[in-house]
Every structure is written in structure tokens, then in C-alpha cells.
Symmetry: C2
Subunit: 480 residues, 2 copies
């Protein structure tokens, strides 16, 4: 383990990420809120560290060094952001500030703020910006490092990425990143334009777009998207949550081939859309049957938004659904656990793993009646061997075990089971809001500092696809 | 599919099982409660059907026919028992009667009775008897048919059984059954004797023993085992719940080899005991810290009993733990999902599957840092190939999916999430009581008939290790 290489790379990445403070900095100048210098400190701080790091030789990191680099960045960048929150007094408690920063950078969107609207506008813009950079950061991570490691079957995603670059012999990470950035920017600019057209101010449009395409869920309003009371805004955001929850390299490929079929024929897109359609119809019917709404269009409006927010693990709300029928609340949690497409900004176990699980179960059911059956699992045009299936199964089971474990630890503080376990689900899947005390009308402020810290760790664990972080804690990882 | 063979075997097994009505019949005679004839009707009914079945030729069933036979018996024998409950008026509603019968035969112990003590004593004896015969029936099924099918990695259990018979070249099912029956009878008689010594009446001792060794959980008292207010009784039952939750063929093997190590060195026994010890210490500490009890011995007394009831999926209670700290309630549910040893009367996913899961997860974590790592999973002296691991993982995921699905369906009737999902866990794992409305102080009486029926189906699904029942619903099963 070459710690100098790790230090160099971590300090470089932190400096690079810290440049995103420039956006709220300039907005602060324009707003004259007197916070401009506060935005520069984190940049200066990370630059100073980088000046030390750059002294070390630049070597190609091996896999273990790359893993450690990514994990450190994901733990440290929120610390830099927390330093900013504490420094400005926006969030004085360091554990609260760290939670809010992790929640932003992991695009979780769970908040410890009880009154969002009381914060300076430029600080809220920074909060939304952590979503945006965390979102693109995660996609690049999951299309480059993750497939190289192969954690949880992510090697399947490598082929996707290389297909996008099939002209090149050796498609490089940087090229993937560049392609993704173009797609991400296109999505961002389109949504800002549409929200502006729908009547939002540019400031609100930018903030909510950052939180949408990153499937983050932070809003500048206490009532989240519901505050705008606009059907158009809700529909635009719902559609862009789904767009952000789709494999970003797929847009690139579909565009290159000028083929809609390339996009809509992709197995994860098909399953995501199928789930969304059925869950929306189901929720609409339940809302009508339970007399929550009497108008089918109103029922559809709120049902579609909340289902889109669940499958994309965004966590916005267009209404306080705390008292909706328990079946829909359960559905929201189940959908966020399944999650959306790999290679998107969304969380959860991901559609492709869920599909492999369903297909394996189906074959094993057949095998029960025909014990000598030999079967093969395919996904799209790929045939999966047992090694990959086994990795996927390990991923899913460790994901659930961690969800249960963190939920269990929260119950130790005496919180009820629904609050504890939904908080755990909301953090590991990067959904954001849970149920009961941490539901759409609540927040995470009441937890003691150690629960907040544990949930921060859980958000990072979930974001980095659990195995990546956990492998570091094995003695094996540190052996020569 | 030879339906005549199936009919013959099902009718024979139903008749054989119906003979167990003779026990409460004779008790009824002795008690002079006038119900004697009512106990004979089910025997006469099943004998009449058997008279038709015996006309068909006796052929060796193939695997699909064997599966269908077992599933039919597990669905139909409770119907016979329900017929009895309805006929005597003990449980007038047929869905209630079927639920109670399924709950007995699957050794679940969930009840729709609001006042157990109001029933005639011989009827309660029948209720306990359904546990006892369901328990031995399940063990024979899981040590003979299940390993032959290999569903969910059960082929691992076959080796256990054949080792017990290693002198024989072809150990036969009948021999396994005979060995198991000896062990089961020995456990039963020992517990009856001990409970009698501890001051219980013979009637109570027999009833509670039936419910203990079968890890069933039906009691003749509304307050369950707590009604006896006896430390000795609670400890005897706690220990026998654990004994009943241990692979029964292991006793036989250990006895043959005169070796305690054979018993306590077995991986499932080791993990079951480890979990029990740690969970008991943990719960004792939490009960003391939360000031539920002030005396460490009292805290231990209730904690140990409730943990033993959870890991063994028995479902007795020695106190109303509804208001215990949520962490212990969560723990009870988690432990019952893990379950106890394969080849025992207990439910849950079983220790060996849990161990395979943990071992695979550990290896996959290593593999994350070393993508080219090739690993092997061993269990005891057996090395598992990927085919078996894959079957186990399919089992675990289908088990959890069904638990979530049934819980979700219950929420559709508007019940809160804790009630719905804990009811689902309690039925699939054959634990019995859940939390909230279906907790130790509650029961399943308030559910609408369709929920009761669905939960009955879930109990059978869980008992027959899910895959066995589900494979029947595939079109594939019915193809030539
Ligand atoms: K989110
Ligand atoms: K039970």
C-alpha cells in the first residue's frame, strides 16, 4: 500500500471537488450576503493540502489504493463541507453539519434542518450543489472503478461503458467521464429551462434541478416540491427524477446510434418503467379507494410523483404523505430498496441485481421439481456465470444485513421500529426521508449525535455499494 | 403425473395422521366431556377416502409426485382438523378453524382464539397434538424428501442423515423416521417428567411438552407459560425449546458414537448456542439498563426465555413483552428469521443457510480487494460448490421476498406496518406471535377472512421451505 500515492490522489480530488464552492461563492457575491470569503476557505484549505500531496510522485494506483482513495474522498469531502457549514454558523453542530454534507454528497437528501427556509440562499445553493457534484462523482465511480473491482456484479456495467466507446480499442475512464458529463449537463440545462418555463425563478430552478438529476432530494422549501403548488413543476421533476435514475452511458450510446430502441429496449430501463407504471396505477387506485383523493387526476398527480421519487431514490415530496394508507408507505420503502438503474445517480440494490435475483429464483423453482436441471442466467445479450451471480447475491444479502443492523442500532436509542428501520432504509438506499418520525413532514434532527454519525456512515456505505467500504475493514485488505 | 398414486399416498397419509385424534378422543372419554364421537368422525372420514385410495396400484412416486403429495397433505390435514373444530363448535368459523389448524400442524402457534381457557380440555389437547404430529412430520419430511429434492441446499442434510446410518449401504427413509421417532419420544417423555416434577399437572405437562418439542407455542393458558409463575417451568421449557430446535438426527448420531463432541461440535449447534448466549446477555443488559427489571436474575429469567423462544421459533411467552424496548422486539423478529437447525422442528431460514451466507459475504469482501480471488466455502467437513450456494441464496431471497410480499398484502387491509410485517414474519418462520396487534398479548382474530387464509397459506409455504410449494405453481411443473 503506497500511502503517498493515496495522499496525492485524495488531496487532488478534494481540491478538484472544492472548486464547486465557486458556484455559491459567486452567487453570494451577487446576493451580497457577505459570505463570499467563507466559500473560499474550503478551497484554500484543500489547495494547501494538495500542495503537500503534489510533492509525491505520481504513480498508477493499484486496486486497493484506488478503493482507499475513493472511500477517503467520500468520507473527507463532506468533512470539508461540514467545516464550511460550521464556520458560517449555518449549521453550528459539527455532527449535524457532517450529516447534512454526507447526505448532500451521497445524494441522499435526508436533512437535520428543521427550517430550511431560514438559511441564506447561497448556503442552500451550496447544499444543492453537493448533490450535483456527488451525483456525477458517483456515476463516474460506478462506471469506472466499480466495474474494474467487479464488486456486486458491477463488471456487467463495464461492458456497457465499453460499448459506448466501441470504436476505441482501449476506452479510458476519462472518456467515460467526459461523455457522462455531457449527458449530465444536457439533463441539467434542459430541466432548468423547463422549470423556468413552468414559472419557477432561476434560483429555485437551479436548486431543484441539481437535486433532481442527482436524485438527491434537498429542496429550498420546507414543504419540498409541494411548496410550488404546480402540476407542471411536479411532472417535470417527476420525469427528470426518472431520467436521472437511468444509466447515463445509455443516453450517450442511444444518441450515437440515433436509436430510441437502444434506450428503451435496455433491460434496466424496461424493468424500471414497468415497475413505475404498475406502482403508479396501484397507488392511484389505493388513494381513490381509501378516499384520500376523490379526483382521479389528483390521485394520479400525487401517486406518480411519489412513486417516481421512490424508484429513483430521490426523496422529494409533493405533499405530506405521512397519513397515506400503509400499503403505499410500505411500497415506497420497497421500491427504494430495489432502486433504479446501475450507472445512474440513484441508489438501492439496482434493477439489474433485482432482475438477476428474480431470474435465479425462477430457475431454482424449476430446479426444485427437476433436481438435475442445469440452467443459465442471461441479462440482455450477456450470459452470467455463477461467479457473477454469487457476487450479486453477496451484495444483496450484505445490503439487507447492513440495513437491518443499522436499523437495529437505531432502535437501541429507543426509537420505534418504523422510525428506526425506515431511517436505515432511507440512508442506505440514499432515498432520504423515511417514515414516522423521519417521514416527509419530519427530519433527522432529533437523533443523538452518535446515531447521526452512524447514519452518515451508512449513507456512504450505501453510496459506495457497500462492499467497497467494508473490504477496508478486513485485516485481509491490509495484508501484503 | 400419476394422480392415482398421489391420491393413494395422500389418502393413506391423511388416514395415518388422523389416528392422532385417538389421543384427545380417549382423554375426552376419561373427562366425560361428551366429545368422544366428534374425534372419531375425522378418522372415519379419512378412512373412507383411504378405502377409495387403496384401490389404486401402489407405485413408487417420482419427485414431482412426491412434492405434490406432501403439499396436498400439508394443505388437507388442517382441513380435516378444521372440520373437527367447526363440527364441535369449538371454532365455528371455517377460516378461523383452518387458520388454527394450519398454525398447529405447521408448529407456528399463532392463534385466532381470544380466550383459550374457554375451550374444552380435550379440544386443547387436540390443538397441542397438531403441533406434536406436525413437528415430527416436518422433521421426517426435511430429512428424507427435502434432501432428495435438494431445495434450498437441503442436500447438505442428506449427508447428515446417511452418516447416522453409515453402517447401512442404502439408508432408507423409514429408518431415518424410526430413529427420529425414538429421539422425539425421548425428548417428549423427558420434558413431561421434568414439568411434572416442577409441579405441573400431567395434563398441562403433556400439552406444553407437545408445544415445546415441536417448537409450536400453543398454550392452554391465555398468559402462555407466564401463567404458571414458575422459574423452574420456564427454564425447563426454555431448554427443551432449544433441544427441539436442534437437528434430531444429530442426537441419534451422538448417541451411537457416545460422543458429546459429535453433538456440541456440530456447526449448526455451535452457531445456535453462540447466538442464544449473546442475544440473552444483550437482552438482559438492555432490560436492566431500561429499568424494565431491576434484579439481574429476573432480567435474565425473562430475557433467556424470550430469546430461546425466538431462536427456536416456538413463540411461547413468559411475560407480556409488548412494551419491552424496541431493540429487543426487533431482535426477536431477526432471530426468528434466522431460525434454528435444519432437521429440527424449528422454522426460519436455518442456521446452515445463514452460515453459508456469512461465509460467502466474507469471501466476497476479500474478493473486492482482490478481484481475481477464487474461494471455496466449507461447512463442517463439506465443501460446497457454487450450485449449492446458488440454491441457498435463491432460497433466502425468495424467503425474504415472500415475507415482504405477504406483509405488504396485509397492509392493504389498512393495518399498521409493524403489525402487518411482524405477522408475516411470524407466519413464514412459524414463530407464531408477532408485534403490535399480533404481539404476545394480542392474537390473529381481528384479521378479515382473506387475510387469515393468506396467512394460513404463508405458514404452509414457510413450513415446506417455500420452494417445494412454489414450484407447483409454475407451468413448468405440469409439463411432461
Ligand atoms: K435521495
Ligand atoms: K412456533
Amino acid at each position: 500500500m503506497n500511502f503517498k500515492v493515496i495522499f496525492r490522489n485524495v488531496s487532488f480530488l478534494l481540491f478538484l471537488l472544492s472548486l464547486s464552492f465557486l458556484l455559491p461563492a459567486f452567487y453570494s457575491l451577487w446576493e451580497r450576503d457577505g459570505l463570499f470569503m467563507d466559500y473560499l476557505y474550503p478551497i484554500i484549505l484543500s489547495f494547501s493540502i494538495f500542495l503537500v500531496g503534489i510533492q509525491f510522485e505520481n504513480e498508477e494506483p493499484d486496486i486497493k489504493e484506488a478503493i482507499l482513495t475513493v472511500v477517503l474522498v467520500w468520507f473527507l469531502f463532506p468533512a470539508l463541507s461540514a467545516f464550511f457549514y460550521v464556520k458560517t454558523g449555518a449549521i453550528p453542530n459539527p455532527f449535524d453539519a457532517y450529516f447534512e454534507s454526507v447526505s448532500g454528497f451521497t445524494t441522499t437528501g435526508a436533512s437535520i434542518l428543521t427550517n430550511v427556509e431560514a438559511l441564506p440562499k447561497s448556503v442552500l445553493l451550496w447544499r444543492s450543489t453537493t448533490h450535483w457534484i456527488g451525483g456525477i462523482g458517483f456515476v463516474v465511480f460506478s462506471l469506472s472503478l466499480l466495474p474494474a473491482i467487479g464488486a456486486g456484479g458491477a463488471q456487467l456495467m463495464r461492458f456497457e461503458a465499453s460499448k459506448a466507446m466501441e470504436e476505441k480499442v482501449l476506452p479510458r475512464v476519462k472518456e467515460v467521464a467526459r461523455a457522462i458529463l455531457v449527458v449530465y449537463l444536457a439533463l441539467t440545462l434542459s430541466e432548468i429551462a423547463l422549470l423556468k418555463l413552468a414559472g419557477m425563478s432561476l434560483y429555485e430552478a437551479v436548486n431543484h434541478t441539481f437535486a433532481t438529476v442527482a436524485t438527491g432530494g434537498f429542496s429550498t422549501k420546507n414543504a419540498s416540491v409541494g411548496a410550488f403548488h404546480s402540476f407542471a413543476v411536479e411532472m417535470i421533476i417527476a420525469v427528470f427524477m426518472l431520467l436521472g435514475a437511468t444509466n447515463l452511458s445509455l443516453y450517450y450510446r442511444a444518441f450515437r446510434k440515433r436509436s430510441f430502441k437502444e434506450f428503451f429496449g435496455y433491460y434496466e430501463v424496461k424493468s424500471l418503467l414497468t415497475i413505475t407504471v404498475f406502482a403508479t396505477i396501484f397507488s392511484t387506485v389505493i388513494l381513490l379507494l381509501d378516499h384520500v383523493y376523490h379526483n382521479p387526476v389528483t390521485a394520479f398527480r400525487y401517486a406518480f410523483f411519489q412513486i417516481a421519487t421512490a424508484v429513483s431514490t430521490t426523496g422529494f415530496s409533493s405533499t405530506d404523505y405521512t397519513n397515506w394508507p400503509p400499503a403505499i408507505l410500505a411500497l415506497i420503502m420497497i421500491l427504494s430498496l430495489i432502486g433504479a438503474c446501475a450507472g445512474s445517480t440513484a441508489g438501492g440494490i439496482k434493477q439489474f441485481r433485482f432482475l438477476v435475483m428474480l431470474k435465479t429464483i425462477y430457475q431454482e423453482l424449476k430446479k426444485t421439481a427437476h433436481p438435475r436441471l442445469v440452467y443459465k442466467i442471461t441479462l440482455g445479450d450477456k450470459s452470467l456465470d455463477f461467479t457473477i451471480i454469487n457476487t450479486i447475491w453477496a451484495f444483496i444479502s450484505i445490503y439487507f444485513m447492513l440495513t437491518v443492523m443499522f436499523g437495529f442500532i437505531i432502535t437501541l436509542s429507543g426509537y420505534d421500529l418504523v422510525t428506526s428501520f425506515s431511517a436505515s432504509i432511507a440512508c442506505i438506499t440514499s432515498l432520504g426521508p423515511g417514515l414516522a418520525k423521519v417521514g416527509p413532514a419530519g427530519n433527522f434532527s432529533f437523533f443523538p449525535w452518535f446515531d447521526k454519525f452512524l447514519l452518515s456512515v451508512e449513507m456512504i456505505l450505501g453510496r459506495l455499494e457497500v462492499l467497497t467500504v467494508m473490504t477496508i475493514f478486513l485485516p485481509f485488505f491490509w495484508e501484503k
